[in-house]
Amino acid sequence: MDPQPDIPAEYHGRPRRPLVRKTLVILLVLWTFGAVRGAWETPLIARLRGADLLQAVPAQETETKLGRNAVLAILGGMRPLMAVYAKLSAVDKWEIADWDEVEKWYGITILLQPEDYQHRIDLAWHCAYNARAYYETSQHVPSGVDRAREMEVWTDKGLAYLDAAIPEFPDRGELLQEKAQILERKKHDPCAAAQTYRLALGKKGVLGYVERFVGYQLAQCPGKEQEAYTYLKRLYDEGEKNHLPTLIHEVKRLERKLQIPLLLRIPDPEPDLPGTRNTVPGLKVP
């Protein structure tokens, strides 16, 4: 019973302030509940992570891990909204070609949604294409800036972001595909591009054309002509569906270069089809 020291004895009756006692009981029950539910909670969390239903935090340095985890935990379901805000801010900075700011806002977006690999691709794309193009062509670049050097710096940044992201998403092919594209188009390194496209094959999000891209890049790689020919010829032989203008063009070029006997060569393409370079579907360059 709660003491009632200030009240004359004639009024002593039921405990007058059960609040303290009840609060203690409630804390005790909550604690017990916390202790007991752990036995359910911990394996459940492990199972949910296994089923890709909860964010499993990739191994990183403790500082980043804590920073990310805290954001993940505290913002909870708000993160998509905040991420959209950060991303729109990045787009805003892109319009005024403030590349450091674009980088910063994408950094925040990624901090908010580390599990969304698309943000990593966006960031790399901004660096390697947009920032690079700016230093290549814009009249607003101050004189005295070494345009060529900046172009290389930003391209390399794009590649570095992808290299950092690829181990975090070992099953996603899009990141490798993006990297291969930068190697192909901006670094003009068909050998590395071919190798990277090849790594992407069979991973999630990789569509059929990537298989052909491996061959196209191999075909450009000095010293790999024979390998490229075998690769592309195999695709050609798979059937009508692969008889695409670029593929035919490349095979014919390699046939001439490797001096393949006429009898083994593929038939001539219809003359009115242009030999196009590959295009990347799904990529909407604004």
Partner: protein, 303 residues
């Protein structure tokens, strides 16, 4: 002694100790009470947000546009649900006390636990209806936008002679997968479960509190702690045994980490029915514990 003196009136049936009908009556009254407070104006804000997002065209791929619409609408639903659960629950009981409506209700044959349950289910009813409306709205917007994006992408891809029809189909399928999908119902359900736990927790807080503002602040703090403390405990427990007391004390606070499952579902994962059932049971246990404690506190509260 003379029993007849103590018998209730013969023509009056003894009221049931526990009656779902009474709880429903109280819940329905709470529902209309909240609706009258113009809570559904939030839906207008939501509609503006979702339509706005669907027209923002600054993003990268079609898939990404759709996943952004999904992410923002579910983010808004999530925010609405738990915040509404806290604020509405915190407001509804003190208002009854202030208006003395509580006296008239409790002087009827209504057990106090039924009053609490009526408020709890009334708040949940509003959240359920609101979430349903938001889900419908975002579904419509998603499908509408998806149709537009598929048409655009098809035209764009068909211009390129180097792309096989199979590739085009693959691309369109990828876009299609990002539209509305029945799994989004399960995400909304988990958002509702978390709101239910928060409403139950707020009922517990409000049986202590004397003001709505205090209840709201404590409720929000409760939520943030429920989402944040796991990280703190993990972080400090890496440091060794020195901070074990923290993990020990943290058992008092809830762990809402499991309710983050909705994010992955919105992003594309699917939860098996038994997983959903387990999470539902998990939330149910939380609700029962908090409501029982709230009842314990409320049972002899004086007004």
């Amino acid at each position: 002694m003379s029993a007849p003196n103590h018998a209730p009136m013969p023509d009056r049936p003894v009221p049931p100790i526990f009656s779902p009908g009474r709880i429903w009556t109280l819940a329905a009254a709470t529902f209309t009470q909240l609706v009258r407070m113009r809570t559904f104006y939030f839906l207008l804000f939501f509609a503006v947000l979702v339509f706005g997002m669907s027209n923002v065209n600054l993003l990268y791929t079609a898939e990404q546009q759709l996943s952004t619409i999904r992410g923002t609408s579910f983010g808004a639903m999530w925010l609405f649900a738990w915040l509404f659960a806290v604020t509405a629950t915190a407001v509804v009981i003190p208002r009854d006390i202030e208006d003395r409506t509580l006296y008239t209700i409790l002087s009827k044959p209504v057990p106090r636990v039924e009053y609490l349950l009526g408020k709890f289910f009334g708040v949940l009813l509003v959240i359920t209806v609101a979430l349903g409306a938001m889900l419908l709205l975002s579904g419509v917007v998603l499908e509408f936008r998806k149709a537009g994006l598929i048409a655009e992408t098809r035209i764009y891809l068909e211009q390129s002679p180097d792309i096989t029809p199979a590739d085009i189909q693959g691309q369109l399928d990828a876009i299609s997968n990002e539209g509305f999908h029945p799994r989004l119902f399960t995400a909304a359900w988990i958002i509702l479960l978390q709101a239910a736990v928060m409403a139950a927790a707020t009922i517990l807080v409000s049986t202590f509190a004397s003001s709505s503002l205090f209840t709201i602040i404590v409720g929000i703090a409760f939520f943030l702690i429920g989402h944040g403390h796991r990280i703190a405990v993990d972080y400090w427990s890496e440091g060794g045994a020195t901070n074990n007391w923290l993990a020990w004390a943290a058992k008092v606070v809830p762990d809402f980490h499991i309710f983050n499952v909705h994010e992955k579902i919105v992003a594309g994962s699917t939860a098996a029915p038994f997983v959903m059932a387990e999470i539902t049971a998990y939330a149910g246990v939380y609700c029962v514990v908090y409501l029982l404690l709230g009842w314990y506190m409320f049972s002899d509260k004086e007004f």
